[in-house]
Symmetry: C2
Subunit: 465 residues, 2 copies
């Protein structure tokens, strides 16, 4: 399946037909944002932008899409429009890999409303998922500290979504993936060991290890839990490691995939060290996530490399990020979506977001949402609590949204997954620790400029009247 413009919800096309027939010229602004951090965490890592831009530059309806839509009863003149459809709008976005927070725009689309609607589903589909997984990866990185993290989740991923999961995991702090296709396309380090079936096919574990080490001596990792980790797998691995030494080679590691990883890794480390194999690394896998890895670390487990699968690539337990795409301006007029639930009230107009930086260059813990071309702020206001405001005069204000696409074409160079991962790491380092802890993380402040708040409140009152 290739992503074409038909990778959308039917209602986008139905609405497009109505706009086309009744008011085809309306320019719209939509905000992409989410309402709460996944995993009860204190932040998210924004990911997926490069994929979105790559697709948007070339998005069209295929001939089979058009034939299908004709069958669905869309009119001839509208089908002609769809045939010529390209995304010709603009996008302003914060940088991919940045640390982001709820309720403030991460990205804005400004385009003819027909184009803006047709791309909505695709844009949400890619950004919601990659942001979820990059955030999960970042949390696992937080637990693993300097340990090596490998994504091994493709077999449990949501079909081809696993391709994007591997990319997002790398952006969020993983070192590599077992997913060959993703590694190839996104230039992510690729790694792999062996499966139990390999050893089973031999019946003889030692012979299996020997053959493997002979053919693949580089980065050789032996899986030692097929029969009995300490009584069979580890002694056989040591035999092979010594044979490799005699050939001037070094066994890279042994892998544990079952049992008590804390206990087994400590025992394994001690036995390897006694055999003068201090250089042999210990790889562990089996239903790991940020909490299990944290616990393993606390128990002094001797694990150098963590293989993480299901919990990473499915973003468990949340499994989804509820990012939304809300109309904030139409034909130059502000638009708002009301709700009984205050957090669901959207923000009108084209906007900018400023991050507050303290005197040490660290994030102060506040982003301010303003109208697009406002003067620097002296203070920001709480979105709803009129008694709360924050003085910003001592802080540096960094604008976060930048033009990345104009008239359907990129206006910034594309960035590799490595560059984005590096950037993400540098940004996360500026976020104080209290926002990163798993239990009740500190709440990052999102404020509004006085002007934006005033405009929004006037609109709310107007709609209620």
């Amino acid at each position: 399946m290739n992503i074409t413009a038909a990778y959308t919800d039917l209602y986008q096309i139905t609405m497009a037909q109505v706009y086309f027939s009744t008011k085809p010229d309306g320019q719209a602004v939509f905000d992409y944002y989410y309402r709460s951090n996944p995993f009860d965490g204190g932040y998210s890592i924004f990911a997926g932008l490069e994929d979105v831009l790559d697709v948007l530059e070339n998005l069209k309806f295929s001939p089979t899409d058009l034939a299908y839509l004709e069958q669905q009863g869309f009119e001839k003149d509208f089908l002609e429009y769809l045939k010529a459809f390209r995304f010709r709008g603009s996008i302003r976005s914060c940088k991919e890999g940045d640390v982001v927070f709820p309720t403030r725009p991460i990205l804005q689309v400004e385009a003819n409303i027909i184009e803006a609607q047709i791309i909505e589903t695709f844009l949400l589909n890619i950004l919601n998922f990659q942001t979820l997984i990059a955030t999960k990866a970042s949390r696992i990185r937080h637990s693993a500290k300097d340990g090596v993290l490998l994504d091994m989740g493709l077999r449990r991923a949501h079909a081809t979504g696993g391709y994007y999961a591997s990319r997002a995991a790398f952006i969020g702090g993983f070192d590599g993936t077992s997913n060959v296709k993703a590694a190839e396309d996104y230039n992510i380090p690729c790694s792999g060991t062996m499966a139990h079936s390999f050893i089973q096919s031999y019946g003889d574990e030692l012979k299996a290890f020997r053959d493997f080490a002979k053919v693949r001596p580089k980065n050789c990792v032996l899986l030692i839990d097929t029969y009995n980790t300490l009584k069979s797998g580890l002694p056989n691995a040591i035999t092979v490691a010594k044979e490799m030494e005699s050939r001037g080679q070094k066994l890279m590691g042994v892998r544990l995939d079952s049992g008590d990883l804390a206990y087994l890794s400590k025992k394994t480390r001690a036995i390897l060290d006694d055999a003068n194999l201090e250089y042999v690394k210990i790889v562990a896998s089996n239903q790991l996530d940020e909490y299990v890895i944290k616990s393993l670390k606390e128990q002094g487990a001797q694990i150098d490399i963590f293989g993480v699968g299901t919990n990473l690539v499915t973003g468990k337990p949340d499994a989804s990020l509820g990012g939304v795409y809300k109309l904030s301006e139409y034909k130059g007029e502000p638009r708002i979506k009301l709700s009984e639930n205050l957090i669901k009230v959207s923000l009108p107009y084209k906007k900018q977001v400023y991050r507050m930086i303290d005197a040490n260059g660290k994030f102060y813990g506040a982003d301010a949402v303003t109208l697009y071309n406002e003067d620097p702020l002296t203070h920001m206001e709480h979105p709803f609590d009129a008694t709360k405001r924050l003085d910003l005069t001592a802080l540096k204000q960094e604008p976060l949204l930048e033009n990345v696409m104009d008239n359907g074409k990129r206006v910034v160079p594309s960035r590799s997954a490595s560059e984005i991962a590096e950037y993400s790491k540098s940004r996360l380092e500026k976020l104080p620790e209290e926002y990163k802890r798993f239990q009740n993380p500190h709440i990052y402040k999102i404020g509004l400029s006085p002007k934006l708040k005033q405009e929004r409140d006037a609109l709310i009152l107007k709609h209620k009247a």
Copy 2:
């Protein structure tokens, strides 16, 4: 991203290199099965087979895959092998859409071990996910009874995994999807209504409804909760419905997307009926799943059509099915994977699975796993409890695994998603109700033939010696 043979884990290719260099001719049998039903349910719906067969018939490494693997240090002669790689093995499978149960083979791959390993990741990736989602859909269908069920989840799906989610949801009992691409490719009914942004773009709700109804009078569903459901949305929809009547048209429905759906749907139904609009359907959406729909039904909610998104397409709360692929035979010799955990011990040899059918043609509640060519069974034995056996003499025994692919080519006609959905429905009707309930469903019995059990136990003892 197109699925090529590089859509796999690196270790499959690494192991393949070792097999290629040391023992390239080993024929292997692998079993696909899972160990426990998702969602604490009593069954699963097997899905994804047609996609697997479609891909396998044409699977190869692309030139860029091969260039990448060369960079990764694989040897020239092995790269030549990969260049010529095709899947030339056989597959025996139960029918897609069938009701399946834990610990028994759903599908067996018989092929050269190199080919069997290279396809493993892809096969698990597609079957695990689609089976998860078809099962979720089936549970939602169980709650919704005769209500119409529409998948609207693409925006919250795991990137392009959403494409396969829409297909699997249809197989599991949904009536249609909003996902245009999936509807087009899999010939699934496609439907859609309108978004809040449509009404917001007008500012004037009545004008928005009027324009929509004029341009799209067929299957017209008006979203009535943008401003105030009962005070604004519903009265405006009624006005438009009457205008449509005067043009000889009929409003298909109104949609509720927030608030108390039980209360609002009953109110809405009564008001529509008072306006002689008994034919106007009520569509509801907003974080629905099998439990919410069950509760709505119990409260007498007046909902004709349920739109289900996130919880369906992400398979929440499980988000994954832990299906595995275990070596059961190599070069004609049985293979077994041991574990301290009895449920993790695999079954050796090529096998067949028989479903027990009672005198009324219903499923009796037992599947028996046998060696491939055994005589009909008179009884089956519990996998581990020697005191438990089941007399089968009064039951019809239906073989479940059939040849679907030989020498890399399909040997059965491909089946459309509609045919599979119909088949699935007919199979589920044969499963007694007690296996379908959400709370502590009855446990379906999986037994072994006496011969298979004897062979397995002998192998276990041999390995422990």
